[in-house]
């Protein structure tokens, strides 16, 4: 575990969609797809972010949600940020045929996993969802390596008019897969699991919880008996479906259970 924070420059800032920005930076410690870093925006917050680029330069892709992530969106090239990590576990890249299901900015952590698996010879099929066409993340990046990419939008502006889970359910019924990797809203991931389970296809979910220390100490990211920072963030579905809070509640900064 890399314990010490490194101060580094944002080498490039890329606007991916109207609400998401990628920040690239030099950060030498080796990282694997699925892992995350804590990125400190001096004067603002320090946020847990899955790596959307695990090579050099590394990168994170941030969606404007809270005030802190909005602050992170506005930082310019050359800004100094603090990085520590990488933390957490990784996607198992061995399955030979993988279905990706990405909801919104959840695709950020799936893209590097898909690229790494494709390099090793895995065949990738991707289903991406977003509120509207302009918000689809990393579609081109995935088209470059995937056998096929299908999209769904809430407003029907591009692709299937409806949920990405409609698309993934169909793909699961039409084709065979060795594994499903998913990241997005928990209700979406629950639906993905529900469709894959009867076919006995293992599903791996990248989870998000409030994080403070990121090293298995402070308990902020407690999820049932797990800590998302050290036991995750990638969880096999059977660990999640056993938890009453999965898809229902999270803990706020005080540790109180609140609805998702």
């Amino acid at each position: 575990m890399n314990l010490v924070r490194t101060i580094t420059e944002v080498s490039e800032r890329i606007v991916e969609t109207p609400s998401t920005v990628t920040l690239r930076f030099r950060f030498p410690p080796p990282a694997a797809p699925g892992q995350f870093v804590m990125i400190w925006i001096p004067g603002d917050d320090e946020l847990p972010m899955s790596l959307s680029y695990t090579g050099d330069p590394k990168g994170v892709t941030i969606k404007a949600m809270g005030s802190s992530s909005r602050g992170a969106l506005s930082i310019a090239d050359g800004t100094l940020v603090g990085i520590r990590g990488p933390y957490g576990n990784r996607f198992d890249l061995s399955p030979s045929r993988v279905l990706l299901v990405g909801g919104g900015s959840g695709t950020a952590v799936l893209a590097p996993a898909a690229e790494a698996a494709a390099r090793k010879g895995s065949r990738i099929v991707a289903a991406l969802g977003a509120t509207t066409g302009a918000e689809l993340l990393f579609e081109d990046r995935l088209r470059a390596i995937a056998e096929s990419v299908e999209v769904a939008t809430d407003d029907g502006s591009v692709g299937h008019h409806g949920y990405v889970t409609d698309v993934s359910r169909r793909l699961l019924s039409e084709q065979s897969f060795d594994a499903v990797w998913t990241c997005g809203p928990e209700v979406m991931m629950q639906k993905v699991i529900a469709a894959a389970l009867p076919r006995q296809i293992p599903v791996f979910c990248s989870m998000e919880r409030q994080m403070k220390c990121a090293m298995g100490m402070c308990d902020a990211c407690a999820l049932g008996p797990y800590h998302v920072c050290t036991d995750g963030p990638v969880f096999p579905s059977h660990q999640l479906t056993a938890l009453p809070e999965f898809g229902r509640t999270k803990r706020d900064s005080s540790g109180r259970r609140v609805p998702l």
Binding site: L3, P42, D45, G82, G216, A220, P225, S254
Partner: protein
């Protein structure tokens, strides 16, 4: 195998290795996890009257080997929500010590009574958080306030009361003596040492709160000195805290006068497996030293004979 069982304030513990407050203790599942991993007792996060979000990140700064700084800011779900978490840990059979913090004697007493009602075996009073305004060590560095708080809590509960003492004072033993005079059943020492880290490139403190508390191996000698001096000053049992990672760290604290110890930073550095490893290695170490019961060593480094 040497006997690691210990008693503190009349309470039996299966081993002297407790989970320190602030580590893993926000959720009941994590308290249970620490107990299942072999902790002899588990101290909760410090709980207050209201839910408290704590400070913004960065809340920690870690050093490669010698420890870490933190300013979490006492985040906790509040006493209304917390009993359900304790219930999870108690259902697993855990010996739970409930930690509480307040702004004055009345608030401490009210919280203590509610915490005691959850079925915890003992209370630990946080008189020592070094970075919370109007709380923790701001109260705990005044012997009169320590006395008032402990006295009010002792009136409110029947279970043993442990006062956790700050090292950020010229004479921490005087704080322990004040707690004892008000009826405290045990002392735990030490909490973190007030500390600061500045990033030179950014020319600003790293922690969002600025000041934080230092923990880990760097503070072990300080913790030991406090326990040593407290042992000379009070008759009630002492729980040693600060920088414990190895069997001999535990034994140093015990020889200085501790009947149990708490582990915090070691959990972050090594993982929760530290409890079973340390229990195993501690027992082996005692065998090597031809000591059959760890309790034989309590305070043995003092010239005076060990007290029970």
């Amino acid at each position: 195998m040497a006997d690691l069982r210990t008693t503190v304030a009349g309470l039996p513990f299966r081993n002297p290795l407790w989970l320190a407050s602030g580590i893993w203790g926000e959720s009941g599942n994590s308290l249970k996890g620490a107990w299942d991993a072999g902790a002899g007792g588990v101290v909760t996060k410090s709980i207050g009257s209201q839910p408290r979000m704590g400070y913004p990140n960065p809340t920690i700064e870690t050093y490669e080997k010698w420890g870490m700084l933190n300013a979490m800011g006492l985040p906790n779900p509040g006493i209304d929500e917390y009993p359900q978490e304790i219930a999870v840990a108690r259902a697993a059979g855990a010996a739970v010590i409930g930690s509480v913090f307040g702004a004055d004697a009345d608030e401490f007493a009210t919280l203590a009574a509610r915490m005691a009602a959850t079925g915890v075996v003992a209370l630990e009073l946080n008189l020592s958080c070094p970075h919370a305004k109007g709380l923790g060590s701001e109260i705990g560095q005044d012997p009169d306030q320590v006395r008032d708080v402990v006295r009010a809590v002792k009136r409110a509960v029947r279970i043993p009361v442990i006062a956790k003492i700050t090292p950020n004072h010229f004479d921490p033993a005087s704080l322990a003596a004040a707690a004892e005079s008000a009826g405290a059943d045990a002392i735990s020492a030490i909490n973190t040492i007030r500390a600061l880290s500045i990033d030179v490139q950014l020319r600003r403190p790293v922690l969002a709160n600025g000041l934080g508390g230092l923990s880990g191996p760097a503070i072990k000698p300080v913790g030991l000195a406090c326990v040593w001096q407290i042992f000379d000053r009070v008759k009630i049992p002492i729980v040693g805290v600060g920088g414990i990672q190895q069997p001999d760290d535990v034994l140093e604290y015990v020889l200085a006068g501790a009947r149990a110890v708490e582990l915090g930073t070691a959990v972050a550095f090594e993982g929760i497996g530290v409890f079973s490893r340390l229990a195993r290695e501690l027992s082996q170490r005692l065998d090597t030293l031809q000591v059959s019961r760890i309790e034989e060593l309590v305070g043995a480094a003092h010239t005076v004979s060990a007290r029970s």
